[in-house]
C-alpha cells in the first residue's frame, strides 16, 4: 500500500537522489585516479567529474584537509537541497540523519577546545553536514564542566536531548552518596571518544525507535535491517576495541563500560549480550557472535587486537572489513524502491566515496609506490553489485 502513495510526498526527493546516483565515481575512474602522479593532477581529474564546481576556485596544490572540506561541502549542499524539498516525515527523518554529524561536530569541538586549539580553526574544520548555528557557542565550555555546557548551549540544539541523557546516565552510575566533587572528577576523566560513542549509541537507539514508530512499512523493513546491522557493528567494535585496552584494567570496569556503550538494539542484543560482555579475547568474541553466520565470517579475517602495536598501513583492520560489508548493504538499499533507505544509503555511500578520495589523495601526496598494498584499500560503492 505505501508503495502506491510513496510518490505523493516523497517522490520528488527520491527522484533527485536517484539522479545523483550518476554522480558516483566508477571503477574506471578510480583506476585513473590511482594513476595520478600528483595532487594537482588528481584535482584536475576530479574537475572532470561531478566534483567539478566545488573545486574550481582552489589552488591546484590543495591540502587534503581542504579537499575533504570541499567534497563534504558539496555533499552537504546536495543534502540540504533534498531536505528543503522534503515534507512531513521525510523532513524529520532527514534531520535525524544529520544528528549523527552534529554529534561528531560537538565532540570534535570539545576535544579541540580541551587541546587548546583555536576556535576559528575548529570552526573551519567542522563537517558542513552537521552544522547548526549554536555550534560556535560551544566556546563557552569552561574546563570540563559538561553540565554547564549542556545548560548554556546544547539545551537549544537538536542534539541536546542526547547530551542530557548522557549526563544523567553518567551521574546515575556513580555510587549512592556522591558529592559535587565526584561528579566533576568523573567529567574531567572522561574522554571525548567515550562521549562520542555514548552519544552515538543514544542517537542510534533513538533513530531506531523513530523509524519503528513513524515510517511506513517498506521504509521500516529496509531501515530497521540496516540499523540493526549498524548497531551490531558498533557492539562488535566496542568489544573489539576494549579487548586489551590499558585504561580499563579491571574486568568489572570493562563490563560496565561495555554495557554503557553497546547499543540495546540489533540482532545480538539481548541474546548474546552476556557472552559478548565477557569476551576478553578475539576468540571468545568470535564465539559470542557466532549466532549470526555473517559476523563470524567478518571476524574470521580480523587481526588480533592484542597485537595492536604491530598494525600498519597494510593491515586490513576491523574497520576496513566492516566498511566493506556496510558498503554492500547500502548499495543494495540504494537500489531498493519506495523506501527512505535510499537517503540513508546515499549519505553513507557518498561518505565512503569521500573517504576513498581522501585516502587516495594521501597516498598520492606521500608518493607511495604503485605496488603498495595501501592502494587497494579503497572500497568502491556499488562495486559489490556486479559480482
Amino acid at each position: 500500500m505505501d508503495l502506491c502513495v510513496f510518490g505523493v510526498d516523497d517522490g520528488y526527493a527520491e527522484a533527485i537522489i536517484r539522479g545523483l546516483r550518476a554522480s558516483f565515481l566508477s571503477e574506471a575512474q578510480y583506476q585513473q585516479m590511482k594513476n595520478c602522479a600528483s595532487i594537482p593532477e588528481l584535482k584536475s581529474f576530479l574537475e572532470e567529474t561531478d566534483y567539478q564546481n566545488c573545486l574550481q576556485a582552489d589552488n591546484p596544490q590543495i591540502p587534503t584537509s581542504i579537499l575533504r572540506q570541499r567534497l563534504k561541502k558539496k555533499l552537504a549542499d546536495e543534502f540540504e537541497y533534498i531536505e528543503a524539498q522534503s515534507t512531513g516525515t521525510l523532513t524529520k527523518y532527514l534531520f535525524h540523519l544529520r544528528c549523527r554529524f552534529m554529534i561528531d561536530n560537538v565532540v570534535n569541538m570539545i576535544e579541540g577546545l580541551k587541546n587548546k586549539i583555536d576556535i576559528e580553526i575548529l570552526l573551519s574544520n567542522i563537517d558542513p553536514l552537521g552544522w547548526f548555528p549554536e555550534i560556535k557557542n560551544i566556546k563557552v565550555l569552561e574546563g570540563d564542566d559538561y553540565s554547564s555546557l549542556y545548560r548554556d548551549v546544547l539545551i537549544d540544539t537538536p542534539i541536546g536531548v542526547y547530551f542530557m541523557k548522557f549526563l544523567e546516565e553518567s551521574i546515575e552510575n556513580l555510587h549512592e552518596n556522591r558529592t559535587l566533587n565526584d561528579i566533576q572528577n568523573l567529567f574531567r576523566e572522561m574522554k571525548p571518544e567515550y562521549i562520542r560513542t555514548s552519544l552515538k549509541k543514544m542517537w542510534l537507539e533513538d533513530f531506531y525507535s523513530f523509524c519503528e514508530s513513524e515510517l511506513m512499512a517498506t521504509s521500516q523493513e529496509v531501515l530497521l535491517e540496516l540499523l540493526k546491522f549498524e548497531a551490531d557493528f558498533k557492539t562488535i567494535q566496542v568489544i573489539y576495541n576494549s579487548i586489551g585496552n590499558r585504561d580499563l584494567n579491571t574486568a568489572a570496569k570493562i563490563i560496565t563500560t561495555r554495557k554503557q556503550l553497546c547499543p540495546t538494539i540489533g540482532n545480538l542484543y539481548p541474546d548474546c549480550e552476556k557472552l559478548y560482555l565477557q569476551a576478553m579475547t578475539l576468540d571468545t568474541l568470535r564465539e559470542a557472535v557466532k549466532g549470526c553466520d555473517n559476523y563470524r565470517d567478518l571476524l574470521k579475517d580480523a587481526p588480533d587486537p592484542l597485537k595492536r602495536e604491530e598494525f600498519n598501513v597494510q593491515t586490513k583492520t576491523l574497520d576496513d572489513i566492516m566498511y566493506d560489508d556496510e558498503c554492500r548493504r547500502y548499495a543494495l538499499a540504494f537500489d531498493g524502491q519506495g523506501s527512505y533507505g535510499v537517503f540513508y544509503a546515499y549519505l553513507k555511500l557518498k561518505e565512503q566515496e569521500i573517504r576513498n578520495i581522501i585516502w587516495l589523495a594521501e597516498m598520492i601526496s606521500r608518493k607511495l609506490a604503485k605496488n603498495h598494498p595501501g592502494w587497494k584499500k579503497i572500497i568502491i560503492p556499488f562495486s559489490h553489485l556486479g559480482k
Binding site: 585513473q32 572532470e48 557557542n137 563557552v140 539545551i155
Partner: protein, 772 residues
C-alpha cells in the same frame, strides 16, 4: 539534399611549429572534421590539456570580473555578445597572442579585484563607524546622560552589534549564563541589531563567560566612554573619520568605473572584453581540436574528413598558411582510402534544416543513403493537413507561421517554415473537405436541389467545382467512407514511395541482386494486395452502380484471399476477367514472399559453404599445392569482401562463419515477416488519417453546436456575443493547441515508422564541422 555529400579522407602531417597556424586556418575554413585518434584518452592525458585549462581559467576570470562589476551596479544589463563579429580574430596569426592576452587579462583582473577588495574594506570600515555612532547615540538615549556622569553603579555593561536572526538565541544564552540576572536591550537598525547588556558585577567567572558569549555571537564589540566629555570627543572623531572614508569610497568607485569603461571601449567595432572573450573561446576550441591529433615526437598526425567538392580548397588554405609563415616548416597532406564509414553531411539552409531535424531525431542517415528529409518537406505537412483539414483552423495556422517568418516568436521561430506548410496544407485540405470550423461553405452553389423530397436530386451534368459539395456538409456517413478510403489510397502511395526509395538505394550501391530480390518482390506484394484494393476503391467511385448491385470492396478482398481469387456477390465488372486477374495477383503475392525471404539466405549459404571448403582444403593442402590454394584463397577473399558488405547490415563481422550464417537466416526471416505483416498493419496504421480528421471535424462540430449555434439560430445577438469568447477559447485550446500537437505527432509516427522502415537505415554518423 537527396544524398549526403561525398566525403574524402585526408591525412595531415605537420610539425609542431606550424600546427597552430594550420589548425587556425582550417578552423576559419569551417569545412573539415578532425577525427579523434583515440576517444578513450581522458582530457588530462592529452598534449594540450593545460592550454584548454588556461583558456577556461581566463574565461572564468572574465566572468568573475563581470559578475563583480554587476554586483557593484557599475555594469548593467551586460551581455557578452556572441560570435556575431568574428572579423578581428583572423588577423592575429601567432599563438603567442594568447600569452600576451593572458598577461593582460591577469593584470586587469587582479588590479580590478584589488580595487574591489579595497572598496569592500572601506565599506566595512564605514559600516563599523556607522555602527559605533549609532550605538553611542542609542546608549545615550537609553541609559541617559546621568549614566556617563557618575559611573559607580554595581552593574557592568557590554555593547555591540549582531545579526538580526541571532537575537533570540543571544537573549536565551545571556539568560542562561547569568541565570536571569541580566537585562538585555536590543534595537534593530540597518539590518543589524544593537544590544546593550546590563548585568550585576559579580565576579570574574561570570564576566569571562559573558565575554565568550559576546565573542561568539556579535559582529562588532565596543566599549563605552567613561564620561560625557570623552563621549563627545569620540563622537566627533568618528564623524570626521566617516567623512574621510566616504570620500575614499567615492574615489575608488570612480576608479572602478573608469576601469570598466576601459574594458567596454570599442576598437574596430568590438568591445575589448568581447574581443578577449571571443579570442579565448576560439583558442579553446582550437586546442580541443588539436588534442584530437596524434603526437609522434615533433610531428602531429591527424586524419580529417572533408566534403569531396571542398577538398581543392583545403590545398589552397594550406598554401596560404605556407606563404604566411615562410620561416616555419609547412605541413603535408595526402588523401587516404577510408577504412571506416564516412560521416553523413547534408548541406542545409534555414528552410530544410527543420525537416532534416525531424529525420535526424529518428536516426542519422547512413553515408550516401537516400535522405527522407527531402520528401518529408512536402509529405509531412500534407499528412498533417489531411488530419487537421479545416479552412478556418488551417488559415489561422498559416497566418501564425507567416507572422513567425517576419517577426521572431522565440519557441516557434525554428519551426516557422514547417508551420507555414502545415497551415497551408490544412487550409487546402479544408477546401477539399469543404469544412469551415464545422460548417460547409456554399460558395459555388450546390449541385443538388432539395425539393422537399427525401433524397435531393442531382442534375446529371453538374459538378461542384472544388472540394465536396456542401450538401454533404453534416453527413457523417459520407465523410466517414470518403476519408477512410482516402487514407488507404494515401497509405499505398506513401509506402510505395518508401519501397521505391529502397530500390534507388540498391541501384546506387550497384547491388542488382538486392534490387531484384528485395525491391521487386516487395513492391509486387504491396501492389498486388493493397494496390489492388485501391484500384477497386477508385473503380467503384468512377463507375455507377445501382444500390442493389453495388459490390462490397471488403467482401471482395476477403473472398479473394480466402478462396483464391473467386468472386462472391455482384462483380465489379465481368466475373470471369475479375477472377482471372485476382488469381494472378494472389499468385504474385504468394510467390513474392519466398522470393524475398530465401534469396539472400541462399546466397549467404553459398558463401558460407565456399568458405568452409577453403578451410578444409587449407588444412589438408600439401606444400606444393599451397601456391595454387593461395591464389584461390585470394579470389575467394575478394568475393567474400563483397559478401561482407552485404552482411555488414548486421554488423557482426567478428563472428565465426557459422554464427554469421545463422544470424543472416534469423535476420532475413524477421525482415520478411515484418514486411508481410507490415503491409497489412501499416495500411491499417494509415487509417489514423481518417480517425484524426474525423475527430477534428467532429470536435469542431460539437463546440459549435453546443456553444454557438443556439443563440445564432434564435437570433439573440447578446447571447452570441457572450458565448463567442467561450467558443473561441475552447476552439483555441483544444483544436488549435492540442489537436495540432496530436496531428503533428501522428504525422511524425507515420513518417518514422510506416514510411522510413521501408528503406531508411538511419545508422550513420553525423559530420561535426570544425569551425571557428
Amino acid at each position: 539534399m537527396l544524398r549526403s555529400q561525398e566525403m574524402s579522407l585526408f591525412q595531415l602531417i605537420m610539425p609542431r611549429e606550424s600546427a597552430w597556424a594550420v589548425m587556425d586556418q582550417l578552423g576559419y575554413m569551417g569545412k573539415v572534421e578532425i577525427i579523434d585518434h583515440d576517444p578513450s584518452i581522458p582530457l588530462i592525458a592529452r598534449p594540450f590539456a593545460n592550454y584548454i585549462k588556461r583558456c577556461d581559467d581566463l574565461l572564468n576570470k572574465l566572468n568573475l570580473l563581470i559578475e563583480t562589476a554587476q554586483k557593484l551596479t557599475i555594469l548593467k544589463q551586460f551581455q557578452i555578445s556572441n560570435k556575431t563579429n568574428n572579423k578581428m580574430c583572423p588577423k592575429i596569426h601567432t599563438h603567442q597572442y594568447l600569452d600576451t592576452l593572458e598577461d593582460q587579462i591577469n593584470a586587469k583582473v587582479n588590479s580590478f579585484l584589488e580595487l574591489n577588495r579595497n572598496h569592500e574594506q572601506l565599506l566595512e570600515q564605514q559600516g563599523i563607524i556607522i555602527d559605533q555612532l549609532d550605538i553611542l547615540q542609542e546608549c545615550r538615549i537609553y541609559l541617559g546622560d546621568d549614566f556617563f556622569v557618575s559611573r559607580d553603579s554595581k552593574f557592568d555593561y557590554f555593547i555591540g552589534t549582531m545579526k538580526q536572526e541571532e537575537i533570540y538565541q543571544f537573549q536565551r544564552m545571556i539568560f542562561r549564563v547569568t541565570k536571569g540576572n541580566a537585562f538585555v536591550h536590543i534595537k534593530l537598525q540597518n539590518q543589524k541589531a544593537i544590544y546593550i547588556v546590563m548585568y550585576p558585577d559579580q565576579g570574574v567567572i561570570l564576566k569571562k563567560k559573558l565575554q565568550k558569549v559576546q565573542e561568539s555571537m556579535s559582529l562588532n564589540r565596543f566599549t563605552l566612554p567613561i564620561n560625557l566629555k570623552e563621549f563627545d570627543k569620540i563622537q566627533n572623531d568618528l564623524t570626521v573619520k566617516l567623512k574621510e572614508i566616504k570620500q575614499l569610497i567615492e574615489l575608488t568607485n570612480i576608479q572602478l568605473n573608469s576601469f570598466i569603461q576601459e574594458l567596454l571601449k570599442q576598437t574596430e567595432g568590438i568591445r575589448l572584453i568581447d574581443h578577449y572573450n571571443m579570442y579565448i573561446s576560439k583558442e579553446k576550441q582550437l586546442y580541443i581540436q588539436l588534442n584530437k591529433l596524434k603526437m609522434q615526437g615533433n610531428l602531429f598526425l591527424g586524419e580529417l574528413w572533408i566534403p569531396k567538392k571542398d577538398s581543392v580548397q583545403l590545398n589552397e588554405v594550406l598554401l596560404i598558411v605556407k606563404e604566411r609563415n615562410r620561416d616555419i616548416p609547412g605541413c603535408q597532406i595526402s588523401q587516404k582510402v577510408p577504412q571506416t564509414i564516412p560521416p553523413t553531411y547534408f548541406l542545409l539552409n534555414e528552410f530544410t534544416s527543420v525537416f532534416q531535424q525531424i529525420v535526424n531525431t529518428y536516426g542519422i542517415a547512413r553515408y550516401r543513403e537516400i535522405n527522407p528529409a527531402l520528401f518529408t518537406i512536402i509529405t509531412f505537412p500534407f499528412l498533417f493537413g489531411i488530419m487537421f483539414g479545416d479552412i478556418g483552423h488551417g488559415f489561422c495556422l498559416l497566418i501564425f507561421g507567416i507572422y513567425n517568418i517576419f517577426y521572431k516568436l522565440e519557441p516557434f521561430y525554428e519551426l516557422r517554415y514547417l508551420i507555414v506548410l502545415m497551415g497551408f496544407f490544412s487550409f487546402y485540405c479544408g477546401w477539399i473537405y469543404n469544412d469551415f470550423v464545422s460548417l460547409s461553405l456554399n460558395l459555388f452553389g450546390s449541385c443538388y436541389v432539395v425539393d422537399g423530397q427525401l433524397t435531393p436530386i442531382k442534375p446529371q451534368d453538374c459538378t461542384y467545382p472544388f472540394g465536396l459539395d456542401p450538401i454533404w456538409g453534416d453527413n457523417l456517413e459520407f465523410d466517414d467512407s470518403f476519408k477512410m478510403k482516402l487514407s488507404v489510397i494515401i497509405a499505398y502511395f506513401h509506402m510505395c514511395l518508401g519501397i521505391c526509395l529502397s530500390g534507388c538505394n540498391f541501384l546506387n550501391k550497384k547491388d542488382t541482386y538486392g534490387f531484384c530480390c528485395k525491391f521487386l518482390p516487395q513492391i509486387l506484394f504491396l501492389t498486388s494486395t493493397i494496390g489492388y484494393m485501391d484500384f477497386l476503391i477508385i473503380f467503384k467511385w468512377v463507375v455507377q452502380f445501382s444500390p442493389q448491385n453495388a459490390p462490397s470492396i471488403i467482401n471482395t478482398m476477403i473472398t479473394m484471399v480466402l478462396s483464391f481469387g473467386s468472386v462472391e456477390g455482384p462483380p465489379m465488372w465481368n466475373v470471369n476477367s475479375q477472377e482471372l486477374i485476382q488469381s494472378i495477383l494472389i499468385i504474385i503475392a504468394v510467390v513474392s514472399i519466398p522470393w524475398m525471404w530465401f534469396s539472400h539466405i541462399i546466397k549467404g549459404y553459398q558463401v558460407y559453404q565456399r568458405r568452409s571448403n577453403v578451410k578444409i582444403q587449407n588444412s589438408t593442402s600439401s606444400i606444393e599445392g599451397s601456391q595454387v590454394i593461395e591464389l584461390q584463397l585470394q579470389s575467394i577473399q575478394d568475393e567474400t569482401q563483397q559478401e561482407k558488405s552485404l552482411l555488414q547490415t548486421h554488423d557482426h563481422n567478428d563472428l565465426s562463419p557459422d554464427e554469421e550464417f545463422t544470424e543472416l537466416v534469423v535476420h532475413e526471416t524477421i525482415e520478411t515477416i515484418e514486411f508481410v505483416l507490415g503491409v497489412i498493419s501499416n495500411t491499417a496504421s494509415y487509417l489514423r488519417l481518417w480517425a484524426l480528421s474525423l475527430a477534428h471535424s467532429q470536435l469542431a462540430d460539437v463546440f459549435y453546436s453546443l456553444i454557438l449555434s443556439s443563440p445564432m439560430t434564435e437570433g439573440s445577438i447578446i447571447g452570441a456575443l457572450l458565448r463567442y469568447p467561450i467558443w473561441a477559447l475552447v476552439s483555441f485550446g483544444v483544436l488549435m493547441c492540442m489537436d495540432t500537437m496530436e496531428c503533428f505527432l501522428h504525422s511524425l509516427r507515420l513518417h518514422w515508422v510506416e514510411f522510413q522502415n521501408k528503406f531508411y537505415k538511419g545508422d550513420g554518423v553525423e559530420f561535426h564541422v570544425y569551425s571557428l
